[in-house]
Amino acid sequence: MADTPVLRADAIHKRYADNEVLKGISLTLARGETKVLIGPSGSGKSTFLRCLNHLTKPDRGTIELDGVEISDANIDRMRARIGFVFQDFNLFSHLSVLDNVSICPIRVKRQARDEAIRRAREELERVGLGDKADAYPAELSGGQQQRVSIARALAMDPTLMLFDEPTSALDPELTGEVVKVMQRLADDGMTMLVVSHEMGFARQAADEIVFMEGGHIVEQGPPETLFSQPAQDRTRAFLNVIAEHG
């Protein structure tokens, strides 16, 4: 079992009308591995991420979590094991921070309320928001909301965490606090796939950088190689753009 990857996506295709967004993406993640997906907007990164837990249904291709193929029949159970962090947080506005973090364990995993609350407090401590348990989402900054949404995902004990541009809706000064939390998660051995242009994070936390363009994976490799000596011209061109503007 040790070599079964946590995630194996094989030849994922997705088309919207006559726009083929994903042209056969394959990717694996070993336990404890962190990969960062980069690429120009419209390259299919977010679509690929959403295909992995069927938020967007792929047209073709298979996805396995711990060796079990994801299908319509087991989708809810599989999603319960895949943490997802959204660009715009998507916290439940009517629930306090504590309830946001504990509701899924209570309703989905049928965890006892006391246990779920205890665990939620732990996860909030972990993202540095122990003192905000009774606040409501609308009372928090964007960075705090995003950290709550990370805690919400962690409370489910995920096998895998997916991050869909977790900092691109945040001011630069709020980005840091979210990146720090993600960095620590990666260090703690969480298996993570992150769509992000936070190069600092990619450099430090990623085991591998995956560069996507036009629905293909153009190139992948460890950050030190890919950032300094990219094999493909397109990768180099993209990195230059990022370096200028990012």
């Binding site: 998507n90 439940f92 506005s93 899924c104 309703r107 989905v108 949404s149 919400r152």
Partner: protein, 224 residues
């Protein structure tokens, strides 16, 4: 006996009529709530097939498109021939079915006002569609619905007076009895009746606004 003595003497009858009106109101709103919520959920999250969606749309169009007085006649004279149905029951059905059509649209916009991302987030964490509706969307939609629902409440308390035409002895009919037994003085009696309707309306709306304020989510309170 002057008209004021009559009203004073017959006031218990007016109150009884008011009681019937309020019971009718509660019953029709409850029926309308169940029908309205069911239609709304089926329209938004039910099967997209025409076999489901078309009848829902037809129901909604018919009950919003036919004058209520005609509906009362149809339900009373139409159903009374087939079933042993009282005028009171016919009034609950006619008004309740129509209220269901209106309430379905109140709920539909309330559910749609919850940001779509929250449904996605709930599903992404493993909730089934039903769980996401129950625990994430419904609690927010119901809060958004209270405001528009005060309209429905206000309309329906007034519409209960139309049950008069099929013989329900509610407030307006009681008033009519008093008027026929005293000749003239129509205005005075109806002024008292109007006041009674107004009081129930005001009390109900105040209660709903209180509920709305009480349930307000921190960070989303109405401006004072």
């Amino acid at each position: 006996m002057n008209i004021y003595d009559v009203i004073l003497r017959d006031f218990p009858f007016l109150l009884k009529g008011l009681g019937i009106a309020v019971i009718l109101l509660a019953a029709l709103l409850a029926l309308g709530f169940v029908i309205g919520l069911t239609i709304c959920l089926l329209q938004l999250y039910g099967p997209r097939t025409r076999f489901v969606q078309w009848p829902l749309k037809a129901y909604e169009r018919v009950f919003r498109g036919v004058p209520i007085i005609i509906m009362l006649f149809i339900f009373y004279y139409g159903l009374a021939g087939v079933f042993d149905i009282s005028s009171f029951a016919a009034a609950i059905l006619a008004l309740g079915f129509r209220s269901g059509a209106y309430q379905s649209q109140i709920f539909r916009s309330a559910f749609q006002s919850v940001p779509a991302g929250q449904m996605t987030a709930a599903r992404a964490h493993g909730m089934s569609l039903a769980q996401a509706i129950r625990w994430i969307l419904f609690p927010q939609a119901i809060r958004h619905a209270i405001g528009p629902w005060t309209n429905e409440f206000s309309s329906e308390i007034k519409e209960t007076s139309l049950a008069y035409v099929i013989g329900v002895v509610e407030l307006t009919r009681q008033a009519h009895y008093i008027i026929t037994s005293t000749q003239g003085n129509t205005l005075t009696v109806f002024a008292v009746v109007a006041l009674l309707y107004f009081i129930v309306n005001k009390a109900g709306n105040s209660g709903l606004y209180w509920l709305e304020a009480r349930l307000a989510v921190p960070g989303f309170e109405k401006r004072q």
